[in-house]
Structures are given as C-alpha cells and as structure tokens.
Symmetry: C2
Subunit: 192 residues, 2 copies
Amino acid sequence: MQNLLFNFISKYISITEEEKNVLVSLNLFHSVKKGTILLKEGQHSKESYFVLNGCIRTYYILDGEEKTTAFYTEMDALTPPCVISQTPSECYISCVEDSIILVSNEDMSEEVNSKFPKFDIMCRKFSEELLAKQQINFDEFKTSSPEQRYLNLLKNRPDLIQRVPQHQLASFLGIKPQSLSRLRARMLKKES
Amino acid sequence: MQNLLFNFISKYISITEEEKNVLVSLNLFHSVKKGTILLKEGQHSKESYFVLNGCIRTYYILDGEEKTTAFYTEMDALTPPCVISQTPSECYISCVEDSIILVSNEDMSEEVNSKFPKFDIMCRKFSEELLAKQQINFDEFKTSSPEQRYLNLLKNRPDLIQRVPQHQLASFLGIKPQSLSRLRARMLKKES
DNA sequence: CTTATTTCTTCACTTAAGTGAACGAGTTAT
DNA sequence: ATAACTCGTTCACTTAAGTGAAGAAATAAG
C-alpha cells in the first residue's frame, strides 16, 4: 500500500529511501470504514486527505438536503475549503467505500517541508495541477447540460457510476435522483 | 496606477523600493481596448493576467455558441488552463471594458522569483487563496438553481450586472439570455 | 430469517428552461 | 442619414427538471 504513495510521489520528484522512512514514520495511513464521517459542518480542521484506495465525497446539507459536490478516488487529494480559509467547515466529508487514506495536518506538512525542501516543490507542482484540473472541471460543468454531464462522467470516470449511489451521483450532476432516473431511461430509449 | 499593484502586493509580503523598481522596469502594464481578444482557441500561450482596472472574461465557443465561464475585475488574477496544461487553448479571453492589465509570462516570473524569493512566497499564498475561492465558487454554483445564482451574484458582485451585457451574464449563470430575461421579470413580480 | 431502511424507479402534475421568431431601442459603420 | 448590427425583451410552444407520492428491489439490522 505504501508503494502506491511512493510511486505517486516519484511522478513529481525523486525520493530516497531515507525520505521514504521519514514519511512512513509519520503514521499517515488510516483505514476508514464506509460511512465514516471525516468532517462535519461547523468543525475546525487542519487536515488534508489523500486517497490511496476507496472513495470519499464532499457534500453540503442545504435545506435538509444533501448536495454532493465532489468524489475523490485513487490518487486524488483533497484540502477542504475550511482548512484553507481557516473558518468553521460548511461541508461534510464522508467515506463512500471502505478506504485507505493519508491524513496530514498543516503542522506535519511544515515539518516535512522543512526537512525536505523537495516536498515543497512537489506540493507546488501538485497544487498547480489541481488548480488547472479544477478550472477545467468547473468550465465543463458550466458549459454542459445535465445529460452532457452524465455522458462526460460515463467517459471520464465510468467507475463512479458503479461505485456511488445514484442519488449522490444525481446531486453531483446538479439534478434530483428522479431526474437522473428519467435521464437514463431517456438515453436507453434513444439507443434502440 | 502602479500603486494599485503595490498595495495589492503588500497584502501578502512587504516590498522595498528597489523591488518596486524592478517590477516597474519589466513593463508589465498594458492598456487594452474593449473588445480586444487576448487569447484565441488553438493558440499557445504562457501569459498570465492581472486586472488592475476594467474587466476581462473567459469563454468557449461550443456549437457556434459563446459560453462565458468567468469574469475578472479589479485585483483578480487569471492563468488560463492552457498555460498550466501547456496545450493549445480551448478558451477565448476578451476585454469586456477598456482595461489596464498586467501581462506576465512564465520566463518573466521565473526571473523575478529568482531575484526575489519573496515573490515565490506571495505567489504561493495567492494561489492557495485562489484555489479555495474557486472551490467555494464551484460548490456554490453546483448547489444553486439559476435563480439562486442570480441572487448570489446580486449580493456578491452587483457591479457585474451593470458592467456586463445580459447575454454574457446569462451564459455565466448557465442559462440562455431569454431565460435570464424571464427570471428577472419573475422576480420583479414577486417583489410587488 | 424477518423486519427495517435505504435505494431506485415510475407516475401525474407543476414549474422553469430551451427554441425559434419577432420587435423595438440603441450602436456602429458607411 | 441610413443601413446593418447588437442587444434585450416578449410570445407561443417544446422539452426537461422539480415535487410529492407510491411501490419494487436491494441492503442492512435485529
């Protein structure tokens, strides 16, 4: 499992055995059960997450309704908005599946960064990449209809459709579960 | 006009006269007329923009239709997706109003960063802030109806509604110009 | 194994957005 | 000054999403 992490890191920087040991000694690895809630509305948090295995999701509760905004799967990283803005969280984070994740807090990353300046470089590259991905995602969402979004999902992250309950997918696509059901039925008809 | 920039920078780091002079000597300031297109689909670019004054927008042309995804006004920064991903641009950038903007390219920022490591720190803080803002924007967009989005806009960026043509606003809100017209008419009725 | 609970689909109905066309007001160009 | 555009609004009509309710199927809990 740790190798997954080291492989990922070596995409950005080279890493020595010594550095690997430091990382391991930090006890970053956590195994979390499906349904576990990692962050609740109102909480203060300095934790970032990195998914090695499994799936976690961010959502809001507005007017008593869950609104899912994102899913994070293998090799996805997530720093909740509240951690950056240093305000009480407005969103929830929970595990969609049994997952193995890295949990790091700010103090830890400062420690690592001071010992290994290379990590700073990696984080920077990584967050630039994230920013670009997010930009593109946002643009794609804005410029698409729910149906197009579903087709995009089918193309880009087909696994999600299998792994995630429909009603969570629906709100991720910006519609109600009933509408997603209809949409799928409509598409099946068209095919034939 | 330059003071606008320096004031902005001092929100993040302290800056000496010497450093100011280096910045000025770089000839970053550009005055651009309304309607000027800064970036076209298919172009390669390494340029980032910072708006001192005025308004620029990013949009895509899909099926012959303009889809506006963002407006950038005073003290907003923009690094187009294509610059980060180093691929031909898929989006356009144009001036909504006569504007004064900073244009910087990657080589330049590397030069500045090597001379003044402080700038690196500033860029990092700034991009973290941007990432958080974007995250929040995206979540807000996803969890809102067109009407709520319009109300949000009215609350958070009321100037845009005055400054920007309705049909560009409409696609920014994810709907057609006719729908925005109706939506506004509907809201006026409700008020009375 | 049986009872709950969650999840997904379907239905009838309401509401809002998409579409294509038309019109006037304001701009720009010639 | 006139013609050509752009822009915003309105209208009638179509299509799709929201809503509330109901029921089947799958999962989880006892």
